[in-house]
C-alpha cells in the first residue's frame, strides 16, 4: 500500500469519526425528536462510509457487502422511526 493511500485512509477515517462524534452530540442534545432521528441516520451513513474505507485498507470486497447491509438496515431503522414520530406506532 502506498504511503499516500495509507495517509489518505487515516485522514478519511479521522474525518468520519469526528463527524460521528458531532452527530452524536446532536443526537444527545436534540432538541426535537426529528433532529435526533436525522442524527442517527447520519451516523448510519458514516458507519457505512467507514466500512468502505476499511474495505480499501484491508483490500477485501467483503466490507462492501457489510456496507450494503448497513445502508439497507439503516434505511429501515430511519423509516421505522419516522413512522413512529408521524403516527405514534410503527405498524398499524
Amino acid at each position: 500500500m502506498s504511503p499516500l493511500l495509507f495517509s489518505a485512509i487515516v485522514f478519511a477515517i479521522g474525518c468520519y469519526i469526528t463527524a460521528m462524534a458531532l452527530a452524536l452530540l446532536r443526537l444527545v442534545r436534540g432538541p426535537s425528536a426529528q433532529d435526533r432521528v436525522l442524527a442517527m441516520d447520519l451516523i448510519c451513513t458514516i458507519a457505512m462510509l467507514i466500512l468502505m474505507v476499511l474495505a480499501i485498507r484491508y483490500r477485501s470486497a467483503m466490507y462492501f457487502e457489510a456496507a450494503l447491509l448497513i445502508s439497507i438496515f439503516g434505511f429501515v431503522s430511519s423509516a421505522a422511526m419516522a413512522k413512529f414520530l408521524l403516527r405514534g406506532e410503527v405498524i398499524e
Binding site: I50, V76, V90, I91, E92
Partner: protein
C-alpha cells in the same frame, strides 16, 4: 418357540397404542385385542416354566447407552416368573371381565389403553434386571394407576383418590430412587445380578441404614403399609376391574415384590426385622380391624387387602427363610382369592346397583352361582381348611410360634397372629353372611338382581377353582411352582411340607381358635351394627388418614406460598438486580482468591498498535451507551437511537478486527431489535415526569438511595465484565478448540467459512436445538399476544393520531377510510421500500449461497429477508401487506424445522449417524462449478425458520394496533347506537 423377553414388556405397550386409536364404541375389538395380548404373553411365560424350574435365569441385554455401561436388561428367574404369571394371567382374566363390566357409554379405548400400558409397566418392574430400569417402570405403574383410578374423571372422589394415590406412591417412588442410588453405590453396580450377590457387603456398609429406610419407604407406600395405608381405600373409586387387577393382585404387590426381590441383599439384620415386621404387624392389625366395620363392599376388601399385605410384609420381615417362602406363597394365594372377590363385588354392584352391605341381603336367592363362588373365595380369605388361604396362614402361625426372636416378640407374635386371624374371619363372614344370606331385601334395591352373563362369571370361576385345587392338593398342584418361585428369594430352600393335614399341633389349634373367635366376634358385633351403631371403627375410626393427608398437603402448599412470598418477588427490577448480584458474587469469589493484580496485569499475548481513530470511535460508542442509559427513563426514543449508535460502533469494531461474519450478524440483529423495541414502545405507559417533584422528601430520598444502589451494582458488574474480557483477550489459549475447527472445516466440513461449517455441520445438532427453541419461542409469543389486552392508559390512539381532528381537511390520506389502502402516509418512501424487497431478497439469496465458504449463511440471510418484509408492514400498514402477500410465518417455521430435520435424517438412510454432511461438486452449464453440500439443505431449514420466527414475533406485536382499532371502532358503534 420362545419369543424374547422384551416382547412381554413391549407387546402390551404396543397394544396400548393401538387400543388408544380404536373408535370409542369398539368394546369387542378393544377387549379382544387386550385379551389376546395378555393371553399370548401369559402362554409365553408358561412355556418358559421347564427352563426356569431347572434353575435357569433367562437374561436379555439390549444395548442402550453402551458407552455409559447402561443396558436395557431383562431378567427372569423363578420369582419373576411367578409374578409375570400373576400379572399376565390375572390380566387376561380381568380383560375378559372388564368386557362385560364396562358400560357401553364408557369410553373404552382409554380404559384398555391404560390397562395394557399398566400391564407392560408391571411386566417391566417384574422383569427388570437393572435397578434404575425397575424404578422407571415402578413410576410408570404409579402413573397408570393414577390414570385408571381417575378413569371416571367426572367424579370428584375418583379425581381425589387418584391424586392421593399418585402423591403417596409417587413420593415413595422418589424415596426409592434415592434408595436405589445408594444401593447401587454400595454394591458397585445397578445390575440386579451383581446387587443380589453383594448381600454381605451391603449389610455391613455404613450407608445401609439410610438406604434401607429409603427403599422401605418406596415399598411401604406402594404396598399401602402403615402409616401409608390410607390411599388404598380411596383408590376404590376406580372401576372394579382396575381394583381387582391393580389394587389387589398386582400393583400393590409391587411393594412386597421389591421386599422379596431384595430379601437376599437387605434382610437378616435387626433393622430389617424391626422396621419391616413392625410396619407389617401394625398394618395387619389395623387393616383387619378397620375392614370389619366397613359398609362398602369394596372398602371392606380394600382394608382386607391392606391387612393381607401387612401379613406378607410381616413374613418377609421375620428374617427366616421359611417365613419368606410363606410370604411368596401368600402373595400367590392372596392374588387369586382377592381378585375373584373384587370381581364378585363388581358383579353385585353391576346387577344390584349398590355396594352397601346394609342394603344388601339374601342375594343368594337371585345369584346362587356367584354367591357360591364368592363364599368359597371369602372362606379362602378367612383361612378355612381345604382352601389355599388356610395353608399359607398355617405357615404363618407355625412361624409365629417357632420363631426365636427377642423375648417380648416371642410371646406377642402368636397372639397377634391369632387376633389378626379372628379379624379376617369376622370380615369374611360379614362379607358373605350379610350379603348373600338373610332376609330378602332386594325389592328396595336400585335394580332387580340376577345372575351376570356367563362370561363375566368365568374369570371368577377360574380363580376360585385355583383356590380349591391349591387348597386340597397343594403338593400336586403348587409345590413345584412355589419351590421355583421361592428359591431365588431365599437362596437355599428350607424343608417345607405343603400338606393339608399336619396332625394336631399348635398351629392347627391356633387356626381353630381364630375361626371360633372370629365367628364369635362377628355375632357379637352383628346386632349393634345392624342397629346403625359402630358406623366407624372404634378407636381408629377417628384417625382419618385422608384428612391428615389433606391437611398435610394444604400446609405444605401454604408453606410453599409463604416461602415464595418471603424470598420471591414479581417485580422485574428486583429480579434483575438479584440476577446481576448473584452473578457478581459468583464471579468475585474466585477472582478474589486469584488476586486482582493477576487479572489487571494482562497476559502474554502480543498487542495491536494503538490507533487514536479507533479510540475516538469507541469514545463515541461509549458516549452513546451512557447516553442511552441516561435517557432511558423519560426519552425512550432517544435512548433507542443512542443504543443503535452503540450497536453500529460494535459492528464497525468487528469489521475493523476482520470479523465480517460477526459484523453482518450483529448488524441484522440490531435492525430487527430496533424495530421490535419500537413496536413495544407504543404499548408502554406514558411518561409521568412531574410526579417526582410533588412527592414528599422522604420518598424522593429513598428513590435517590435506590438509584445510587443500582448505579453502584451496575458499575461493579460492568467493571468486572470489562476486567474479565481484558484478562481473556490478553492471553492466548494453546488448548483452545479453535485450531481443531480451523484445521478440519475445509477437509471434513467442505467449507471455508469455519463459523458456518461449525453451525451446520460440526455443531449441527446444537443448531437444530437452537432453531427448535427459536420456533417455540416465536409460537409462544404469538400465542401470548393473541389474547393480550394493553393497559387501559395506552389502549387509546397515540397522541399523534389524536392531534388531527377527524373532520380536518388535509392532504394526508387516512389509509383506513380510503378505498385504496395502498395510498396512505409515507407514500414516497413506500415506493422506494417496495423496490427494496426484491433487492433484499437477492442479497439474502447471495448471502445464503455463499455462506458455506465466505461470510453469510442461513441466519443472516433469513434476517435480511424478514427485515425487508417488516419494512413493508411499516410503510404500507398491516392491511395492505396482508392483502397483497400471503406470508403465513407459522408455515415458514414448520417447513424450516422439517427441512432441517429431514436433512439430518437423510444421513440415516445412507447409513451414517444423524446430521452427517455429504459434499458434492457439480458442474452446471452457464453457472459453472457448483459446490453442493447436504449442509446447504440444512441451512435452508435455518433460513426458513429464522424468517418465519422473526416475522411472527414482529407482526404479532404489530397486530395489536389493528386489534386495538377494531375494539375502539366497536365501542364507538355501540356508543352511537346507545345515543340513537
Amino acid at each position: 418357540m420362545h419369543l424374547p423377553l422384551i416382547t412381554l414388556v413391549a407387546l402390551p405397550f404396543a397394544g396400548s397404542l393401538i387400543a388408544a386409536l380404536l373408535p370409542t364404541n369398539a368394546r369387542n375389538a378393544e377387549s379382544t385385542l387386550a385379551g389376546v395380548i395378555a393371553l399370548l404373553c401369559a402362554v409365553q411365560v408358561a412355556l418358559l416354566f421347564p427352563d426356569i424350574a431347572a434353575g435357569q435365569v433367562i437374561r436379555q441385554d439390549i444395548p442402550w447407552l453402551p458407552s455409559l455401561g447402561l443396558n436395557f436388561v431383562l431378567r427372569m428367574d423363578g420369582f419373576a416368573w411367578m409374578f409375570s404369571m400373576l400379572v399376565l394371567g390375572i390380566g387376561a382374566l380381568v380383560v375378559l371381565y372388564a368386557r362385560y363390566y364396562m358400560s357401553p357409554a364408557d369410553p373404552v379405548p382409554r380404559f384398555f389403553a391404560f390397562l395394557l400400558a399398566f400391564m407392560g409397566a408391571m411386566s417391566g418392574v417384574v422383569l427388570s434386571g437393572n435397578l434404575f430400569q425397575m424404578v422407571l417402570f415402578w413410576e410408570l405403574t404409579s402413573l397408570f394407576s393414577f390414570l385408571l383410578i381417575g378413569y371416571w374423571h367426572h367424579r370428584k372422589d375418583a379425581r381425589r383418590g387418584a391424586r392421593m394415590a399418585l402423591t403417596v406412591t409417587g413420593a415413595g417412588g422418589l424415596c426409592l430412587v434415592a434408595g436405589v442410588v445408594l444401593l447401587g453405590h454400595i454394591a458397585g453396580s445397578y445390575d440386579l445380578d451383581v446387587v443380589l450377590a453383594a448381600g454381605d457387603a451391603v449389610r455391613a456398609h455404613p450407608l445401609y441404614r439410610p438406604m434401607l429406610v429409603l427403599v422401605l419407604l418406596g415399598a411401604f407406600t406402594k404396598s399401602a403399609q402403615f402409616p401409608f395405608q390410607f390411599w388404598l381405600p380411596n383408590a376404590m373409586a376406580a372401576p372394579t376391574p382396575v381394583s381387582a387387577y391393580l389394587h389387589s393382585a398386582t400393583m400393590v404387590k409391587a411393594g412386597v415384590f421389591l421386599l422379596a426381590r431384595l430379601w437376599p441383599v437387605l434382610a437378616g439384620t435387626d433393622e430389617w426385622f424391626w422396621l419391616v415386621t413392625g410396619a407389617g404387624l401394625a398394618t395387619l392389625l389395623v387393616g383387619g380391624f378397620a375392614a370389619i366395620f366397613q359398609n362398602d363392599l369394596k372398602g371392606l376388601l380394600a382394608y382386607s387387602t391392606i391387612s393381607h399385605l401387612g401379613l406378607i410384609t410381616t413374613l418377609l420381615g421375620l428374617n427366616s427363610p421359611l417365613a419368606a417362602v410363606a410370604a411368596v406363597f401368600h402373595i400367590l394365594n392372596h392374588a387369586t382369592f382377592k381378585a375373584s372377590l373384587f370381581m364378585a363385588v363388581g358383579v353385585i354392584d353391576h346387577e344390584t346397583g349398590t355396594r352397601d352391605i346394609r342394603r344388601l341381603s339374601g342375594l343368594a336367592r337371585y345369584m346362587p352361582v356367584t354367591a357360591t363362588l364368592a363364599t368359597v373365595a371369602a372362606a379362602a380369605m378367612a383361612g378355612v381348611p381345604l382352601l389355599n388361604g388356610f395353608i399359607s396362614k398355617e405357615m404363618f402361625f407355625s412361624e409365629a410360634v417357632f420363631l426365636a426372636a427377642s423375648p417380648g416378640i416371642d410371646r406377642a407374635l402368636p397372639v397377634v397372629a391369632v387376633v389378626a386371624g379372628m379379624f379376617s374371619v369376622a370380615y369374611s363372614l360379614r362379607f358373605t353372611v350379610e350379603v348373600f344370606l338373610g332376609r330378602d331385601k332386594c325389592g328396595a334395591l336400585p335394580r332387580q338382581p340376577h345372575e351376570p352373563p356367563r362370561w363375566m362369571r368365568a374369570p371368577i370361576s377360574v380363580l376360585v377353582l385355583a383356590c380349591l385345587v391349591v387348597g386340597t392338593l397343594p403338593q400336586w398342584s403348587i409345590q413345584r411352582i412355589l419351590e421355583t418361585a421361592a428359591r431365588p428369594v431365599v437362596g437355599v430352600l428350607p424343608d417345607f411340607d405343603l400338606a393339608v393335614w399336619h396332625g394336631f399341633n399348635l398351629p392347627l389349634w391356633m387356626s381353630l381358635l381364630s375361626l371360633v373367635g372370629g365367628i364369635a366376634l362377628f355375632f357379637a358385633l352383628r346386632s349393634p351394627m345392624r342397629r346403625g351403631h359402630l358406623a366407624k371403627a372404634p378407636l381408629i375410626g377417628r384417625i382419618n388418614g385422608k384428612r391428615v393427608f389433606r391437611s398435610l398437603l394444604a400446609r405444605l402448599t401454604l408453606a410453599g406460598r409463604h416461602t415464595r412470598r418471603l424470598f420471591g418477588t414479581r417485580r422485574l427490577q428486583m429480579q434483575l438486580m438479584l440476577l446481576v448480584l448473584v452473578t457478581l458474587v459468583a464471579a468475585a469469589v474466585p477472582l478474589r482468591r486469584l488476586g486482582s493484580e493477576a487479572l489487571l496485569a494482562g497476559g502474554d499475548r502480543a498487542m495491536l498498535e494503538f490507533s487514536p481513530m479507533f479510540a475516538l470511535m469507541w469514545l463515541v460508542g461509549a458516549g452513546a451507551a451512557i447516553g442511552a442509559v441516561w435517557q432511558a427513563k423519560y426519552h425512550r426514543l432517544t435512548a433507542l437511537a443512542l443504543m443503535s449508535v452503540a450497536g453500529l460502533v460494535t459492528v464497525i469494531t468487528f469489521a475493523w478486527f476482520s470479523a465480517p461474519d460477526l459484523a453482518l450478524t450483529q448488524l441484522s440483529v440490531e435492525a430487527v431489535t430496533t424495530v421490535l423495541i419500537m413496536l413495544g414502545l407504543r404499548w408502554l405507559p406514558k411518561r409521568l415526569e412531574d410526579v417526582g417533584r410533588s412527592q414528599p422528601l422522604r420518598v424522593r430520598a429513598r428513590a435517590r438511595v435506590r438509584r445510587g444502589r443500582d448505579l453502584s451494582i451496575a458499575l461493579c458488574a460492568g467493571a468486572g465484565l470489562a476486567l474479565l474480557s481484558w484478562a481473556m483477550m490478553t492471553r492466548s489459549f494453546p488448548q483452545s478448540i479453535s485450531p481443531f475447527f480451523l484445521e478440519r472445516a475445509l477437509p471434513e466440513g467442505g467449507g471455508r467459512n469455519v463459523v458456518n461449517v461449525m453451525l451446520v455441520d460440526f455443531r449441527g445438532f446444537d443448531t437444530l436445538g437452537e432453531i427448535t427453541v427459536l420456533g417455540v419461542v416465536a409460537l409462544t409469543v404469538y400465542a401470548l399476544l393473541r389474547r393480550f389486552r394493553p393497559a387501559p392508559e395506552s389502549a387509546g390512539l397515540p397522541p399523534q393520531q389524536q392531534a388531527l381532528p377527524a373532520d380536518l381537511v388535509t392532504d394526508l390520506v387516512d389509509p383506513y377510510s380510503d378505498e385504496d389502502p395502498a395510498r396512505g402516509y409515507l407514500m414516497v418512501p413506500a415506493v422506494l421500500i417496495r423496490l427494496v424487497l426484491p433487492l433484499a431478497a437477492m442479497i439474502a439469496v447471495y448471502l445464503f449461497m455463499r455462506g458455506h465458504n465466505e461470510p453469510g449463511g442461513g441466519f443472516v440471510a433469513g434476517l435480511v429477508l424478514s427485515t425487508a418484509f417488516i419494512v413493508q408492514y411499516v410503510v404500507s400498514g398491516t392491511q395492505w401487506v396482508e392483502a397483497h402477500m400471503d406470508l403465513r410465518p407459522q408455515r415458514w417455521i414448520a417447513f424450516g424445522l422439517l427441512t432441517a430435520t429431514a436433512t439430518g435424517l437423510g444421513s440415516f438412510a445412507l447409513g451414517y449417524p444423524f446430521l452427517t454432511t455429504h459434499t458434492a461438486h457439480v458442474s452446471l452449464p452457464l453457472i459453472g462449478d457448483l459446490h453442493v453440500a447436504s449442509a446447504l439443505f440444512y441451512d435452508i431449514g435455518v433460513f426458513l425458520l429464522v424468517v418465519g420466527a422473526t416475522l411472527l414475533i414482529l407482526t404479532a406485536l404489530g397486530h395489536q394496533s389493528v386489534r386495538g382499532r377494531r375494539v375502539r371502532d366497536n365501542e364507538e358503534d355501540e356508543r352511537k347506537e346507545g345515543a340513537h
